[in-house]
């Protein structure tokens, strides 16, 4: 314990040096802005900034690159709330309740709360990193394909209840998402599937194109068909209108806490990513809510949990990267590459061999999160003013950022056409009440489920019992079963009764 404190002291001493503070501020500011812009995200920005950091010392270089990464998560919910246009795929879920809040004139409050939620999530995972990084990383990589499969199946089953309305339509969209996720090169055999001979599809459908089409373009189309557009009077934007009420806070904290935990669990697992974290935390909030019907209409829980999960997962993704040298996703792989170029070898020895770097970077994460708080809260007033722009000017500008953002990911016009295609499909889905969120989660989870299912079976030489033989995997499958049973009418009643009893007790404890 004392050791940790000494180390943290060392870390803060490093992170608080003027140079490091500057690069931290630079990184998080850049991150916030690319986060706000739809499509263009942390991966593109970090890849482009990486060569610039070769001229820096390793510590400021890492601090800045990391700042871009978690800074982008703060920004990504802004456009979701204001325009129903997610800045990145993980923020798509924030549209569901953030946009209704904006329509009710509560955009300022939503932006304020998502900023705080991001801070809570980030802080939670940083504390985990400080206290238990090596132990957590060991647990995370002890998850083999069987465990991954089972946890992803649980996530998938939870996904069907993401939206309001018909559960059947939700599940149908999950299945369509699974199908779309299969397009491209099959990881386990190398075959090309559903590519129709198009090179552009060999790497699969672009997640950004899908998310921007289903959420961004579809929303623009649907808005254009409405006759009136709620524009906000600039005079009504006061600082007071951004302050959440006591009731808002009361609903905010528990949801933010749960989101942080779910985000951290998913973030530590290599290969999962923040999209899964935000969607699952939202689904979980809805599952445990006493009145699930409030979701989709501006529920505080619906923005607090996913935003906390988003930042918590991103920050937790550093744990396996720094302590084992195992990057969980493409962004972490680029960061790892950056460290190697600087002659730093992330891995079990990093904490001992280079404590200044490890603790300095960890301390900078928290300082960066404080910067983001200071940066984002005053910006809220500015962002909300976006709503005063008349819609006939706003939507061409939104299309401007959508096309360039999607194009930037692979420098591909094909992806932009795909975005249009998904926009039209998404619009039709909206018209017929087929929800988009389950489709997106099915798309993200499908390839993971297939990969791990097949690998688990190869490892077990075709023995299907591997999924129930391994205790952790069995646990997740049993949880899946409970979720499924709870969806069946009579069983649900029993669950409701049990849940009610539990919530009464928690109320007494409060």
């Amino acid at each position: 314990m004392l050791d940790t404190l000494t180390n943290l002291g060392l870390g803060f001493k490093t992170a608080l040096s003027l140079g490091n503070l500057t690069f931290c501020a630079l990184g998080v500011t850049l991150g916030t802005f690319v986060g706000v812009l739809p499509g263009i995200g942390a991966l593109a920005t970090i890849s482009m900034c990486l060569p610039l950091t070769f001229y820096l010392d390793p510590i400021p270089a890492m601090i800045m690159l990391a700042g871009i990464f978690y800074g982008a998560q703060y920004g990504s919910s802004t456009a979701s709330i204001l325009l129903n246009l997610p800045g990145s795929a993980p923020a798509a879920i924030t549209c569901l309740d953030g946009y209704p809040m904006a329509q009710q004139g509560r955009a300022g409050i939503a932006l304020f709360l998502t900023t705080i939620a991001s801070f809570v999530g980030g802080t939670f995972s940083i504390l985990l990193m400080v206290g238990f990084a090596p132990a957590l990383a060991d647990v995370a990589i002890s998850f083999s394909s069987a465990e991954y499969f089972s946890i992803m199946v649980l996530a998938l089953v939870a996904a069907s209840t993401l939206s309001n309305g018909s559960v059947l339509k939700g599940i149908t969209m999950v299945a369509v998402g699974l199908m779309l996720g299969l397009v491209g090169t099959d990881i386990s055999s190398g075959s090309q599937r559903f590519t129709f001979g198009l090179i552009d599809l060999s790497e699969g459908i672009s997640l950004v194109a899908l998310a921007m089409g289903l959420f961004g373009v579809a929303e623009i189309l649907s808005n254009l068909m409405r006759n009136e557009h709620p524009t906000v009077d600039a005079k009504s934007i006061t600082f007071r209108s951004m302050i959440p009420s006591r009731e808002d806070w009361r609903r905010f904290w528990p949801a933010s806490g749960r989101g942080s935990v779910i985000g951290a669990v998913i973030g530590i697992l290599p290969g999962t990513g923040p999209t899964i974290a935000t969607f699952i935390s939202y689904a979980a909030e809805k599952k445990i809510a006493r009145d699930p019907s409030i979701f989709g209409k501006g529920a505080i829980e619906g923005i607090a949990a996913p935003e906390s999960a988003n930042n918590s997962s991103v920050q937790a993704a550093f744990i396996p990267t720094l302590t084992l040298g195992i990057p969980g996703d493409a962004i972490m792989a680029v960061m790892l590459g950056g460290m190697l170029i600087h002659g730093i070898t992330p891995g079990p020895q990093l904490i001992n061999n280079d404590p200044v770097l490890f603790w300095g970077v960890v301390a900078s994460f928290w300082i960066g999160n404080i910067f983001l708080l200071i940066l984002n809260i005053p910006l809220i007033g500015l962002w909300v003013r976006l709503l005063t722009v008349p819609y006939h000017l706003l939507y061409p500008a939104m299309l401007f950022f959508i096309v360039i953002g999607v194009y930037s990911v692979h420098n591909s016009s094909f992806d932009v056409l795909m975005t249009l295609g998904f926009g039209l499909v998404g619009f039709a889905m909206m018209k017929f009440d087929f929800p988009a969120a389950p489709l997106l989660l099915g798309f993200v989870l499908g390839p993971l489920i297939e990969e791990h299912f097949r690998r688990a079976l190869i490892l077990a030489r075709g023995d299907i019992t591997v999924f129930v033989d391994r205790p952790v995997s069995l646990g997740f499958l049993l949880a899946t079963l409970i979720v499924l049973l709870a969806a069946i009418g009579p069983v649900r009643k029993i669950f409701r009764r049990l849940l009610k009893r539990r919530s009464v007790t928690t109320n007494i404890n409060e």
Binding site: S47, G271, L340, E451
Partner: protein
């Protein structure tokens, strides 16, 4: 306008021309008259990309014209090949094709291009090994021990590699065929996934490039049993080659080479080859390549064509033996 070559290249070209008497005497072509595009079939940041960018800098210095690297990633190098095929045969568009192409020609039902007839070889540039890795606490101290165990226990050994159809994956198929071990090859998405699986104890061995495992080697998360190249790897001098470890004839080397379109004037190809040959022996290039755990070596167009053919034959056989379905 006179021949737009610097003196250095001019001499190099002259030497090359003098050395290869087989080259027909043709009129000197003006080259390069505009920036030259080098098409890389992989995304930025990979080994092929980095080494080619280093070489492009030198080519720019030598020829006094910009050599610009463009990334056109995509399965089988098709996107990159299309860029070359749609260009004029004037040597202003070059493409990087690797040992991966020698696999792709047999792996794809219809690749859409044939480097052996449609392209003209210029020179190889970067060479790299693969390694056979085990967990540090693995009971196998030598490759022979692993092979013996595998032979005695059919169906026991798990070999991890990245995606099917990659050089690593086919090197594993080749290994299985060469040793007659009944082993299971487990595909993973990325090399960090393999590393995690190794730490978890899921794999008995993995075939991966020492470059990808550089950090893991330093962290002692993996141990190298053998190197697949013809020679030992300078950064792992104590590790024997697979052939030294007793598996006869087993050699897998990765290489990246520069090609252009068939029909490009011979003197242009000779000038480019001479420039690459000169770059490959530059001390700073050698040092940078060594840092990347790769080796710079230029083969002549004839040697390169022969190497392509011999690699192609090996992989065609491996693909057939392993019963891998064509794509």
């Amino acid at each position: 306008m006179k021949l737009n070559l610097t003196r250095r290249v001019f001499t190099a070209t002259a030497t090359a021309l003098a050395m290869s008497a087989a080259l027909p005497a043709v009129a000197q072509t003006e080259y390069p008259v505009k920036p030259v595009r080098i098409i890389v079939p992989f995304g930025p940041g990979g080994l092929a990309d980095i080494t080619m960018r280093l070489a492009a800098e030198k080519l720019t210095e030598i020829f006094g014209q910009q050599f610009v690297v463009e990334n056109h990633p995509g399965a089988g190098g098709v996107a990159a090949a299309n860029q070359l095929l749609s260009s004029d045969p004037d040597g202003h568009t070059l493409v990087v094709m690797s040992n991966g192409t020698t696999i792709a020609v047999s792996l794809f039902e219809d690749l859409g291009y044939d480097p052996q007839t449609q392209f003209a070889p210029i020179s190889t540039l970067a060479w790299f090994d693969l390694g056979i890795f085990v967990s540090p606490d693995s009971e196998y101290q030598t490759l022979q021990e692993l092979v013996d165990y595998g032979l005695a226990n059919p169906g026991y050994i798990n070999i991890g590699t990245v995606n099917p159809g990659s050089t690593q994956n086919l090197a594993a198929e080749y290994f299985r065929a060469a040793t007659n071990i009944d082993a299971t090859i487990i595909p993973y998405k990325t090399s960090p996934d393999i590393l995690a699986a190794m730490i978890r104890g899921e794999l008995d061995m993995a075939i991966e490039s020492p470059t990808a495992f550089a950090a893991a080697l330093e962290n002692e998360q993996v141990r190298a049993l053998a190197i697949t190249g013809a020679k030992r790897n300078p950064s792992l001098p104590d590790v024997p080659t697979v052939m030294e470890a007793g598996i006869e004839g087993y050699e897998v080397s990765g290489w990246n080479a520069l090609w252009t379109l068939d029909g490009v004037p011979d003197d242009v190809i000779a000038a480019l080859h001479a420039a690459i040959a000169e770059i490959a022996v530059m001390p700073d290039i050698q040092a940078r390549f060594a840092e990347l755990n790769t080796r710079a070596e230029s083969l002549t167009p004839e040697e390169m064509a022969a190497r392509f053919e011999s690699d192609r034959l090996i992989w065609a056989q491996v693909i057939e033996d392993a019963g891998i379905e064509k794509r």
